[in-house]
Symmetry: C2
Subunit: 531 residues, 2 copies
């Protein structure tokens, strides 16, 4: 006799909605790129969180049908773009159906005068930008995941691209959203000049209030003139003071990235090849590999202290700041000159155009080959947090101090604003003293490092995240950041997803008598849930 | 025996909250500067909408106490800044208490590094900007109401200042809000880089979701270099094409204002003195007065047709575009040069710095002396609507066509963006064929003109408002603009003001079985409520 779920799924077939529930698809859609789950898979726990099925709607109406069907049958839905998230924003349960939006990928309209484009959520990133480039236009959004992420994913996770200095984050590009709320209503939200704007309440909501089906995005004329510059600084702090000065004096470099001494040394000498994943662009140059890293990482604290010394910093050539201005005329070169004047008056030493040009060439050279590192008992991860300028020093030092004895911590600063900056920490450590497989002890060690790193970021007055989202890995700490704001966030959840069918457990931590999270699962940081 | 209201008000005294209910205060707080109510007062209807009392809280906790008290006693609250609104955002009823925030005017903190300031809602505009200027800083927000508006009013009504081209609207300045929701909770909303942002859902909510008690605002270093330019164009359209080109090529003039031929002629010849109220800055030069205007306005259609002719446009010297760049160094002059290149390649004729300098000198020279005009049986009003560039022509022509036979319509374009622009219409007409007092016939004529003007704006794909807010005058049309968005807006109202105590009738039109609007009153455009 068919199960109730099979009967329910049969209704989807009647509605002409494509779906499958075979094991291969269920396992393929069981997670995103959250390293902890990646590691669990390596440990043989292949199907910890498989959904019951995967559906591929082709229209907004089909998405609405899916939501109403989910309400009716007590199923939860997990929206899915291209699965490049790194915070567990995608993590189904046995009572979930994953909704893959990639069959909704049409460009619906283009307004060249304005200019704006309306595109469906499932359009992949790079082909979309290329489609625009062929028409002399650009979205200006270049996350390093551009090869494996969708427009809908950018909106849902509140993505930032490498050129955010000029073009902003994705929220600065969205002028209208079409989505299906947890009530099964199609909502069209337009960013208007009058009245309250609801659009920002849905951007970054990670599929917990609505499933984004299409977005109207602000475009730019593709830049025709580009200016490059690089400078080295005696300290990270001297470098970021120059970044602050540039932004506060009104300069808007598309790209402005500051690497700390070790990060900059790697960038210069090319020691480690494609060391980073999901980074806002890899290191400027390629290098050697995990074995060297393992040797380095056996004594992270000593290594860290050594690298922090003035002598080491000088030997490595200090911190490196790379800068690219985009534009349409000679103003670009005026801006490069102004930026250079600011940098040199702040003890920056000109390093010419080469490092910036090299960075641009390798901007998407990020590696997804973690397996060799994991096989060595190593782990690597990244944490992008942000703070206002006056708190940046405390954030930079605090995170390094909190985890420096257990992991080697590098950092670069990208995504600057007049009021603050994002710090992108890369940390690497030996999860297991002897080389060996990833096991529960490694997992506990990894969780502990993350908990302490986030705790230090919050203690310094930083945010939990800048552009990777909250997902499930940071949700238990959200209350520590926004305090009473949780009440407002839950009020929104009640208003737009009263049945709790949309991506339960992402963004908002499950709370005990909470009707929104019928199939709450243990959080990886369960011990740190705020009261 | 004391009335229930008197007993309830006595509780406020016990809570040390200042209040009064004498007639002078009640009449003084009965309205804002919505011309229709101004006219009603002139007609002798002095106390159409007096509140039952006025309260002056001095702390956030007192505001929260007031909200909880209002819930308990079934009273509604109307938040009040300085009363400069022009859309009936303030309009109490007999069951309302007006909450004047002006005794909450402290600057709570200043972060010079970031730079940001936290200021209480009741701080008056100009003294606040001057306080910042003394510290080398600027908010960059210069509404022409700056002399008679508060920070809280700017946030609640989603204000725009004259330098929005560079600094944005108020929503671009708010990084955090403290407010008291309709549940009586103190909510602190921070614009964070991660997760959904609720701040924009409260900006522009006109006191219907929460009472803003304080705001943290992004600041700028006060500009030290300023560049001026002006050009005349053979047509308004040629002028706005130059504006579009400037913004789409990345230029950000702080001020960029285009006057249509008649508006520009007045600006040049100085015929009418301080002709406008609430305008984003008055005409560059002073002039004669209402009697001349009355003579002109007896045949608005003929006058309009005459002025639209090529010959007239040429005789008046065409449309005038004034431009001011703010900055800190020679980039300002590079920008003036780029803007000039764009203007002249679009048939703009350089007019030198003088018109822009003159505009700056008279930027706040707006007149509040409508009475002499009204005494002549004339009426004047302004309507600021916006559209994307491709719809701007339809908006400009549509509104003029819709009301041109009944009112003389002038326009200027300010507040440009890469994707569109605001059109600020000024219209003036003879409400009564013979000079005489304002009566019901005048009122009906005035309402009809507004209804048709807004209808034409919406039909052209424009918005109902750009920076004056929705208030009560435009609320009945909001559904025509945002459609299904009304459901989301009402869901927010239910979530944050479930008892309907906050400013009922503003922003959202009263709907029949709506628990939020217990004391709904007839809308001035009742006939045009959308279904």
């Amino acid at each position: 006799m068919p199960s109730p779920l099979k009967l329910a799924l049969a209704e989807l077939s009647e509605a002409k909605i494509a779906w499958r529930s075979d094991d291969a698809d269920r396992v393929a859609y069981a997670r995103d790129l959250f390293p902890r789950h990646h590691m669990a898979v390596r440990a043989g726990n292949v199907a910890a969180h498989p959904p019951s099925a995967v559906a591929w709607p082709t229209s907004t109406e089909q998405v609405a049908t899916l939501v109403r069907w989910a309400i009716q049958h007590g199923v939860t839905l997990v929206p899915f773009g291209a699965g490049s998230g790194v915070c567990g924003g995608v993590l189904p349960t046995a009572s979930s159906v994953v909704v893959d939006l990639k069959r909704m990928a049409a460009v619906r309209s283009l307004d060249v005068d304005r200019p704006t484009v309306t595109v469906e959520a499932g359009h992949m990133g790079l082909p979309f930008e290329e489609w625009l480039n062929h028409r002399g236009l650009s979205l200006g959004h270049f996350p390093s995941s551009i090869l494996c992420s969708t427009v809908g994913g950018w909106v849902a996770a509140r993505s930032a691209g490498q050129a955010s200095g000029l073009y902003g984050k994705i929220e600065d590009m969205v002028v209208a959203l079409e989505c299906v709320t947890g009530r099964g209503d199609v909502a069209r939200l337009v960013h208007r000049p009058n009245g309250p704007s609801l659009v920002p309440a849905f951007i970054g909501s990670e599929g917990t209030l609505a499933i984004v089906t299409a977005a109207k995005l602000r475009l730019h004329r593709a830049p025709t003139v580009r200016g490059f510059a690089s400078w080295s600084f005696p300290s990270v702090r001297a470098g970021w003071e120059a970044m602050r000065e540039m932004f506060q004096r009104g300069l808007r470099p598309a790209v402005l990235r500051l690497y700390d001494p070790f990060d900059a040394m790697l960038a210069r000498s090319g020691r480690v090849r494609r060391r980073r994943r999901r980074d806002g662009g890899g290191s400027p140059t390629p290098g050697r590999g995990p074995a060297a890293l393992r040797a380095l990482l056996k004594r992270p604290k000593l290594l860290g202290e050594l690298l922090e010394s003035q002598a080491a910093s000088a030997a490595f050539g200090g911190s490196l700041l790379v800068c690219i201005f985009d534009g349409h005329d000679e103003r670009v070169f005026h801006d490069v000159a102004r930026a250079t004047a600011i940098a040199t008056s702040g003890r920056g030493k000109p390093e010419g155009e080469a490092p910036a040009r090299k960075w641009l060439l390798h901007r998407y050279s990020v590696s997804y080959r973690q397996a060799p590192l994991l096989a060595q008992g190593l782990f690597v991860d990244t944490m992008e947090v942000a703070a206002t300028w006056s708190k940046l020093g405390a954030l930079y030092e605090g995170v390094r101090r909190a985890i420096g004895s257990r992991a080697f911590v590098m950092a670069h600063l990208s995504h600057a604003y007049p009021d603050g900056c994002c710090i992108y920490f890369s940390f690497a450590g030996v999860a297991k003293p002897g080389a060996g497989a990833w096991d529960e002890a490694c997992e506990a060690r990894y969780d502990e490092i993350w908990r302490d790193a986030l705790g230090a970021a919050l203690a310094a007055g930083g945010t939990l995240a800048h552009h990777h989202g909250i997902g499930r890995s940071k949700a238990p700490r959200l209350g520590d950041e926004i305090g009473e704001g949780m009440k407002l966030q839950r009020a929104l959840k009640r208003a737009f997803d009263p049945h709790g069918v949309l991506n339960p457990g992402a963004l908002l931590p499950p709370i005990a008598p909470d009707p929104f999270t019928p199939d709450a699962f243990p959080s990886p940081f369960a011990g740190s849930v705020s009261p």
